[in-house]
Symmetry: D2
Subunit: 433 residues, 4 copies
């Protein structure tokens, strides 16, 4: 057995998965805020949206209702705490954030209420680290204040997004402007009327070495050259008005200064966001699984068939037991991956992140699916949040590298303990995106 | 080992699963018609619907396009062949129909094109067998001609549909009219503007013995007392304009003569439809699984990642192999259950039907899910039919008795071989609905 | 979707899975004989063996007890009926034999009682088809009479048996004798003191083309040059006195005339045995699964815990239901593969055989495992036949090509429908062994 | 969602899963000792046993070989460290011991080499806590010195061991002696010629309340009244000479002073051992899983088929990835359960222990099974340790409460968060045994 095993088993710090003392008050505060402010607000928000005819706008009162919660969060100091090691944020470690994100996962509106929702989080992080003062003033500031929303345009139709070299959208410098042409899809949030800025991955230097060909450029929205071809449905649901949009770029002209960091540095920027992004998703997935289990238990105790509550029929108690066991196992794995990022850095922690990314959404899907089954026909309807939770977690198994690619990362890392081989460059690229 | 085992293993006729010689020309004809007429028509139909704003109506040209295919089907004699042993139909056995239904399952518009789509099929069968001459003239005739569509209202919110005694909607005779009050949901097809008649399960005789309390009454649509509360979504999709509607009945008055067969005979009528209905669904599910496997293979051979077609990566070839094996196993089971219905009758074949109902949709869901995974993000979108196929098959695991109830039927029948015990009456009721 | 699909779905004869009228009396007779003669005999046989000290011999009375059952079988005409299309046999089709083999699978001593047990069956078939009159007189005759037993030596330590080119044992002609050197392992039956002849796969022509290098030679046992290195254990069980032996051949000299068919024709001979051999195993596996389900039901109804019979606790009824469903599905698949061999021939039926080989032992293992779980600690002990049934079915997943190889055959055949590609020669070789 | 959830998610100490600084040198020392002393010794031990004829004794040299390792362990201070909080031990917390036990699990002879093997560990703990000075002198001392071995007799044939009230063996006081009559089975270690003492659970007070009827009595071995009926096989393997014996007690007379703690206090004593015993098994299971994965990787990289190493074929890399992920998840869960015992006490930690007991052996079985599959036929033989590892882990799913009972504990605890209900007394009894 290779000796490297040793390190993984028992290294001193990796297994201290406690929340820091400093973060606990924030954690408790967030829980309280979700319970007292977000939960009632989200019910009101959905009630207001019921009669809506144009699915791509907000109903009267909806945004006000949300803004009120955001103001309250700001007032209570529950704002932008996702930002790591930053003056603007709380300086939470990934581990601390993991605890809080699991709570955020229990209500889909919790993140936005405290200005901690994707893709804004990643965009703000990028702008803060690599933005020019002018870019920060123009885009970061309103984002940090929750005044606008944003999008991140990477995935393209027809190209496997798991291979990072696959960017075909071009940007050519003409005079003082970059001119962008191409298509992107699954651009989440680009349907929201409040979405005003989009970080866009383009190919600027086709003759450079493979990981120096890409750049990231800021495209303000709406833009005359950017057409919404349509929303990508997720299991038939356009997820309006947020939307996962299919966009066409035709001679989209933006000022030269909208380039982030510099030509050919697109990959470099991506490295900042992908590790944490993946782990944030999985953290929230734990919260989703908790909620599914909660709904499953309540339904199972209150619904009767053949004269008994459902939990007393067939294998239902065992289903609940297995869900609890798997949630606890997943929680520990997410905490450990977060700790690995804190201790080892994003790159060294990548196998832990891939483990979690390959493990969590798949199992959470199963738990939600079992909760649906316990609800009968109502389980697939809009009368419970389960169907939407399912499609969101199912999609997560395909986003940011499908399960299979993460299993390749983990499996090859295991074998590399014996051979000491360099990682496959194509797989490594999954992490450079 | 109980001797009853013997019969199941080797009874003479049960294992002759050949299509009859008489049915083969029809089978071949249907295949040809789907390929040459239905497939191009359904593409045209979807294209026409793309710009539609009111999701609850048809776009200009859509119905004409469909009607043209229906006319062609009628002209070619491919019409109403679902009707068993009837002058109007082809007199197909369940076994013969199983072969054809698997083909119908490959295109969701195939059934309607040949006037063989649910819930019209069940409604037409019921009307033909128990309708009065006047009822037949008024409703069966236009249904057989494909001029109108219909719905069947059984399931109610708040009551487990797996227990057949659970009907709370009332119908009270006032003078020459039945007056209906209550709620129904998941009423498929009730959103279609062409839906003109609905067979409605009501409680008319609360003091009779449990299975004599129910009746079935014809309710014409639209009706001033029937309000569409809203569509039940299926994983966020309202499935418009067909729809699975939530309906409120407030003092809905229909003529006394709209009663089917007679007061208190609602269960009796249901027995006519449920066995075949369940098996028809499973037959079409085989077609769905074939289509998912087809899409999986094509995608796997044409999409490349890391320099190879997907089918050469990881366990994908084994996934394809397992799908093929399971499809063949399911096909044989569906054929056997159909044969059991032909040989033993619906009631005696009920364990076979439950076996198939518990087995097929669950596994077909898995196969479609794997096809989705092979497609990446496009797999959950509207760019392939997979997401819709998934939600439809997933819902089938809850409709007409959830998997768990059918496993109870099968498990208890197995144990009853040893004890000779009577079947649990509550479970038997699943079959009386 | 490729048109070849059509054939598989609905070809006329393939789905007539009835036992022939001619075979039914034999089938009924075999069932009666197992119940009345084999079952009591096998209990007596095991009782006699209980005090045994030398595990590699039979206890006094054991063989007499078995011989008496064999005499009875011979007297009743239940003898050698495995032989297909032969004067000596019953001329059973593979389909008819499948029904009977499922019965044989329910008691491990049933096959030998009627002289239908592996590897004798394959050896007798080979000798009958390709043996010289002298070879038949010397070895086939006593085998057909049940006077001796035999072995088949193919697998070698250190070489993957799934690749048929992997034979390293040499046989060199010196004068009138072949001289064999090398090692074989997992030689089933070579531990039995009654085993007198072994068909041995050797490499005689290393310079010929790959599938002409091998020959099969008859080696009488015991032989001074053949050393039993030891028994291969199966999960710790040496399976004495039958044994799966590891043998060393050192200058083993046999007459030139012991060659079967001719030099370089070893593969050709193997083609005769592998298809049917694989399917016979799977047929018996169905019987094993039936027995496991029977034991599971009886245990579940008679054992109580927490005041209830086990079948009323947790998911046990569903486990029983799933087992019944899977057994029926597997049965139909085995019958279909047998039919395919009858209709299409062994070679054309190979994908069906691989489907069954990949499907059946894996699932039967799961069913037996669940029966073990229902029995508690007794389930892994010698107090039930379950543990032995498990290890035997588990081993079957590795024998005659591991599951993975058969899934490759099936998966590639599916893809070949689209490409029309020739089969991979290496995989084809799996079938030439 | 019930607020109790909170505690489980984020309690301050429960997630500090670091090994203590004090334990690390011992941990490192144990690893070194296994590598340098135990591994070579166990190879020698098995070599010496190869020619053995009497399986129920040790071959010449075997015990000397083992004793030499034990002496070395004693000399190096690696002795009896399992004892918690005791002068004689190292005072390891359960958490610290968990790390070490995972190492012990990698070689089945490691535990005994350092006098930390079951059932001696449990017996020594019990004797130390409740033994009289005379009992300690007579039995604890030689056990602590590794001079003798011991057994624990609880399970009886015909009674479900998961229900703790099921003890039928009687002990009646006649004068100065207890007289025991009855049967026990699965008495591990009772076949070992060195086994000199057996703690025996008996019913002494049939009229007392259910959990006061039992007592534990010391029975010296060999004893004229104790007959070894035979060994219980585990998948055909008698596991000689250790053995899992079936024993008959006929008028077994032992001195009155052999009673432990006092009449009617048998359950009370059991509480001391069951929690830790279950968790120790699971700790070692992690080591077994690590070893299985190690064997799987080595085999997969060195064995080729179809021209490639096995790890590059089919889904094998994903199988390795999933095994790694599940091992890490299980490891964290075992560490957490151990920590729960340290922080909350055995009784309060019981749900965590049940979670681990229900989760770990089942998954470790799957991982070992996959390692077997990767080895082909050799995987089930004595040529690798995998088959024995499998049967041992498979048996663990039935020992100390089968999986199903632990899932009931976990599932009901989950539901009790909502109802605040008292635990089912029958389930609670699982923990009193």
């Amino acid at each position: 057995m290779p000796d490297t095993q040793h390190t993984m088993d028992a290294s001193a710090d990796m297994n201290d998965l406690r929340m820091s003392e400093a973060a606990r008050p924030l954690y408790d505060h967030v829980r309280k805020f979700i319970k007292e402010t977000v939960n009632p607000m989200s019910e009101e928000f959905h009630r207001l949206g019921e009669g809506k005819t144009d699915i791509w706008s907000y109903a009267p009162g909806q945004l006000e209702c949300l803004e009120k919660a955001k103001d309250e969060a700001k007032k209570q100091g529950l704002w932008n705490f996702f930002l790591p090691d930053a003056e603007t944020g709380e300086g939470l470690s990934n581990l601390d954030y993991a605890y809080i994100a699991a709570e955020l996962g229990k209500n889909p509106m919790a993140s936005e209420s405290m200005n901690c929702s994707a893709p804004d989080t990643g965009n703000m992080e990028v702008l803060e680290r690599v933005g020019t003062p002018a870019q920060k003033e123009m885009w970061l500031k309103p984002l940090l204040e929750g005044k606008i929303r944003s999008a991140f345009a990477m995935t393209e139709p027809g190209l496997p997004s798991s291979d990072a070299k696959n960017v075909s959208m071009t940007a050519v410098l003409e005079g003082d402007e970059w001119v962008l042409n191409g298509e992107k899809f699954y651009i989440s949030g680009a349907g929201d009327p409040r979405c005003k800025i989009m970080i866009t991955m383009v190919k600027t230097s086709p003759n450079a070495e493979p990981n120096k060909q890409q750049s990231q450029i800021l495209v303000p929205l709406p833009h005359p050259g950017v057409t919404i071809v349509g929303p990508m449905h997720v299991f038939g649901d356009p997820d309006a008005p947020h939307g996962h949009m299919h966009l066409r770029f035709e001679n989209v002209r933006v000022p030269k200064d909208n380039m982030l960091l510099g030509e050919g540095r697109g990959f470099e920027i991506s490295q900042l966001r992908l590790g944490p992004g993946r782990i944030h998703h999985c953290m929230r997935s734990i919260g989703q699984a908790e909620r599914a289990l909660d709904l499953m238990c309540v339904r199972g105790m209150t619904r009767t068939a053949f004269g008994k509550p459902l939990v007393k029929l067939g294998g239902n108690t065992e289903i609940i037991s297995r869900a609890r066991i798997e949630i606890e196992a997943m929680r520990m794995m997410v905490l450990k991956a977060a700790k690995a990022m804190d201790v080892l850095g994003n790159r060294e922690a990548r196998v832990w992140i891939s483990m979690v990314k390959a493990m969590v959404p798949e199992r959470v899907c199963q738990i939600i699916d079992q909760a649906i089954q316990m609800h009968g026909a109502a389980g697939v309807s809009q009368w419970t949040p389960l169907a939407q939770m399912y499609t969101s977690q199912r999609t997560l198994r395909l986003a940011d590298g499908p399960d299979e690619v993460h299993h390749m990362v983990v499996g090859r890392a295991e074998l590399a303990k014996y051979t000491g081989e360099e990682e496959d460059p194509a797989l490594a690229a999954v992490w450079r995106k």
